[in-house]
Structures are given as structure tokens and as C-alpha cells.
């Protein structure tokens, strides 16, 4: 199946000379959730803005379902929905009118049943006649999502969709995003909540200083860069670690009350059995074992540090 979104050698240099994107290439499959991660100013929003037609690229091409976003912008844009990072809403409009407006703007005939379904999915139905200015920040965020879904897009950009929203709404959004993915919608998500990306994404891209550092399946990425930390709480404090135990890679904590080990996440690399055998032979008793798996956030922070 051809990619739904193909970004080829995309570059953007702003007037002042700032390079926001440098030779970015990326392909997305239909029906996947792709998380684009990167620190502030990395180029995430610029990339989204170019695909959506808000910023002109200085080089490269973008195709949505085979349609070039500049030469063939109409069919390309019809397929795209965008939820911007900031809460940009028509304060004096009602929820129903603003969502219906978006559908018309994207060239779709009136379809009250679809708008009703979208509003109900986003728990906005009972607010449909409310002016947007009367809604809370979380509700306004839902309105922006409803607007983006009003014309039934096949590619949905969510630029920091859960910034400043409560846990309940965040979980609602995650549920909705998964539902959309199951319906075949491709979702590109940027977020600073890395547990969100870890929870939802099928693939992850990391961008830094306008360059796409890596793109990989989330599970593969976790295996490749993830680590497991083992902490063995000792029954008795040690002043030094026996040589046979030290050979397994274990180190003694500063207070002498725990042994520590960092392992790769691939089972072949984890000599757990050797470790406990060495402890038994050395006569070291332990009261508790704790393991901690690196999160995507740990991996992200480590990647950023390595490439600083």
C-alpha cells in the first residue's frame, strides 16, 4: 500500500536565516499513530504547518495520498485535519455553527448526522448551542478536535492536543484517537507528555534542530534504547562488594544497603541466573528485588543528551 503521507527532503529556512527544517524525509502508512517528538523549537510545528499549507517550504516535496500539497492542493488538503497547538477559536460562535462552518470550508455538503456524531463522541453534544467563549479550556480543545474531524479527514494532525487538559479528557482523547486509527485514519501526534506517546503511538520519530534523528516502531525503539535497572535490597549492610559478585556487573549503592545493576532489555543480555548464583555463593542475603524499565521519556532524554 502506498504511503498516505510522503515527505521528501523537506527544508524550511525562515527569512532571518533560521533553519527550522533540514532535509526531512518521512513516510507514513494509512491507519497508524505516529508520534513526533522533539524539544521546543525542534521543527515539529513547522513540519505540520508546511503539510497543512500554513507555511511555504523552501525545499522538498510533500504528498498526501499521492497529491502534491502545492500543485494539487485541493485533494491533498481535503484529506487533512489539523488540531493546532494553541486554542484558536471563534469566541462568539456556537459550537454547532463553528463545527458546521469547518465542514463547509473543506468543501463538504451539510451533514447534520455526522456533526452530531462527532459532537457526541467528544462529549460536546449538550454544549452544541453554547457560545465558545463560555466553555472551559478543555472543552475548547474538544471543539478544535471536532472542527478538525468535521470533514472526515484521512490524516489528522494533533499538535500538542492534551496540553493543559485534565486526566479525564486526556483519556477520552486517547480513546478517540484509537477509535479513529481503527477506522483507518492516520494520526500524527506531537506531545510533550511522553507517556502519551508511549501509550498510543505505533511509530515514533524524534526531531531535533530541524533534523529527523530517528524513526522507528515504538516497540523496536524501546528494545533498542531501553534499559532495565535492577535494585537488590540487602538484608545486611555491606562495606565492600565481593569480587565474584562484582564480576556480574553488580555495584554497591553508596549507603551499602543495595546492589545495583543496569541491563539491556533483550533477554540474551540479561545474566539474571548468574547474578543470583553469585549472590548465593557469596552468602549475601537480600530482602527485596526491584526492577525498573526505562520509559520512553528516559530514552528521549538520553537521546537528547547524546546529541546535545
Amino acid at each position: 500500500m502506498p504511503p498516505i503521507l510522503r515527505v521528501s527532503h523537506l527544508s524550511k529556512v525562515y527569512k532571518g536565516g533560521f533553519t527550522a527544517l533540514n532535509d526531512v524525509s518521512l513516510e507514513l502508512k494509512q491507519g497508524e499513530i505516529f508520534a513526533l517528538l522533539g524539544p521546543n523549537g525542534a521543527g515539529k510545528t513547522t513540519l505540520i504547518s508546511i503539510v497543512c499549507g500554513l507555511v511555504n517550504p523552501t525545499g522538498g516535496t510533500v504528498e498526501v495520498s499521492g497529491h502534491d500539497i502545492i500543485r494539487d492542493y485541493r485533494p491533498a488538503r481535503e484529506l487533512i485535519g489539523l488540531v493546532p497547538q494553541e486554542l484558536k477559536t471563534d469566541s462568539f460562535e456556537t459550537v454547532w455553527n463553528t463545527v458546521s462552518f469547518s465542514r463547509g470550508l473543506f468543501g463538504k455538503p451539510r451533514n447534520d448526522a455526522h456533526i452530531e456524531r462527532v459532537l457526541k463522541d467528544l462529549s460536546l453534544w449538550d454544549k452544541k448551542d453554547n457560545m465558545i467563549m463560555t466553555l472551559s479550556g478543555g472543552m475548547k480543545r474538544r471543539v478544535l478536535i471536532a472542527k478538525a474531524l468535521s470533514h472526515e479527514p484521512r490524516v489528522l494532525f494533533l499538535d500538542e492536543p492534551t496540553a493543559g487538559v485534565d486526566v479525564e479528557l486526556r483519556r477520552d482523547m486517547w480513546r478517540l484517537v484509537r477509535q479513529l486509527r481503527d477506522e483507518g485514519v492516520t494520526i500524527i501526534l506531537t506531545t510533550h507528555y511522553l507517556e502519551e506517546a508511549e501509550e498510543m503511538a505505533d511509530r515514533i520519530g524524534v526531531i531535533r534542530k530541524g533534523e529527523l534523528m530517528l524513526v522507528d516502531e515504538k516497540d523496536a525503539l524501546m528494545r533498542r534504547f531501553g534499559q532495565k535497572r535492577v535494585t537488590i535490597q540487602l538484608s545486611q549492610q555491606l562495606t565492600a562488594i565481593p569480587a565474584a559478585v562484582a564480576r556480574t556487573g553488580l555495584t554497591l549503592s553508596q549507603d551499602g544497603r543495595a546492589l545495583l545493576l543496569t541491563l539491556g532489555t533483550t533477554p540474551a543480555e540479561a545474566p539474571v541466573s548468574d547474578l543470583f548464583r553469585a549472590l548465593a555463593l557469596a552468602g549475601i542475603a537480600y530482602s527485596d528485588i526491584e526492577t525498573q524499565q526505562s520509559s520512553l521519556e528516559d530514552i528521549f532524554v538520553e537521546l537528547m543528551r547524546e546529541h546535545a
Partner: protein, 253 residues
Amino acid sequence: MNFHAIKAIYMFEMARTARTLLQSVVSPVLSTALYFIVFGSAIGGHMNAIDGVAYGSFIVPGLIMLTLLTQSISNASFGIYFPRFVGTIYEVLSAPVSAFEIVAGYVGAAATKSVMLGLIILGTSTFFVEVQVLHPVWMVSFLVLTGITFSLFGFIIGIWADNFEKLQMIPLLVVTPLTFLGGSFYSIDMLPPFWRSVTLFNPVVYLVSGFRWSFFGVSDVNIAISLGMTLGFLALCLVAVWWIFRTGYRLKS
């Protein structure tokens, strides 16, 4: 052609007028009615007829034109400036719409509002003074043409302005003085020869003169020149709007 988008923008803008009826319709009608009371009924009774037309009736086309110009500019400039100001313009720029469709929606709505206002003021004037329209087709044509042209001009101002002060600057400091000095309340033939020549550089003279001709069959300048100047300004505005969308001026980085 994305007709759904044109309709969506047009209806959105018209709904804004309906929400702000006092400001959009009642206020300009009331202001113009006051002009009629002061200049038409009170002072007009003591003025001589101009070109055989009673003074109260003579100022009707000029007053309609005054409202038409200011309202076209203010409606269209606010219509495009406000989404830029609050950021909702992102949606229009990311939609599958052409520059023509965007302009048709915003300018079409602004022109509709100002033409409606012009007709309401024409109706209001009949309560105060006697009005005749010798060439109704030309009257409506001038009304629509001027409404579209100055709505386009307002659209350009709305794109150019990057704060509310700039948004008001051209209508208040340029258009209103030009309209007052453009023969709205007098025939330019009443001016001394030097000032008459200077006034001919004022484009509003041609609009008011042509429009007045459609009412009374008398004009300060030839009707063909009036029409030519209006069409010329329309062409200038179209070129400016084309350039804005071609370069993305103040819309895209």
C-alpha cells in the same frame, strides 16, 4: 470551485452582522438619518437648489456613498483582520480553497452588507426629503460596483494591518476626509477653479458624481469617466489582492 467554502465564509460573515445588528446596521442608519435632519430638513430649507435639485435631495447620493465607502471598508477589513488577530485564520489557509474563493466569501459578504445599508439609507431618506432615481439600473450598478471595490480595499487593509490602530487609520484619516471633500455635500463646481482642479485628484469625486447622475441626471464629471475611474480602482484592488495571495504577504511565512 469550492462553493461550499464560499457559502460557509459568506454565511459566517453575514451571521456576524446579524449578531451585531445595532453596530452593523442601526448605528450607520441612525447617523445618516441625523445628517438628513441637520443638512436636509434644517439647513437644506435655507440653501439654494444645485443644478435644479433641492439641497436636501442633492445630498442623498453623497450620504449613501459616504456610508457605502466607510461600511465596505470597515466590514471587509474587520472580517479578515479578526481571524488573523485571534488566530482562527489557520483554518481558512489550510482548507482546500483558492484565493478567489476566500475573497469571494469575505468580500461578497462585506459588499452585501454595505449595499443593503445603502438601500436602507435610501429608503430612510424618503422620510426626510423628496428623492427620485432617474436611472435605477445604473444606481444599483454603481452601488454594487462601489461596494465590491471598497470591500476589496477593506480586505487589503485587513491583511496589511497588524494592530487595531492601523485597521482604523486609513478609513478615518484618508477615506472619510476624501468622502467629505469629494462633493458629498456640494457640487465641485461651487469651488474656486484652483480647488476644483485639486479636487479632481480625489477619486471619491468620481464615485459621488456618477452615483448622483444615476439619481438626478446631473454630474460634476462625465459619467463615462466616473465609471472608468471606479473600474480602474477595482482593477487596482484586484491586482493587490492577487499579489497578497501569490506572495503570502502577512498570511504565510
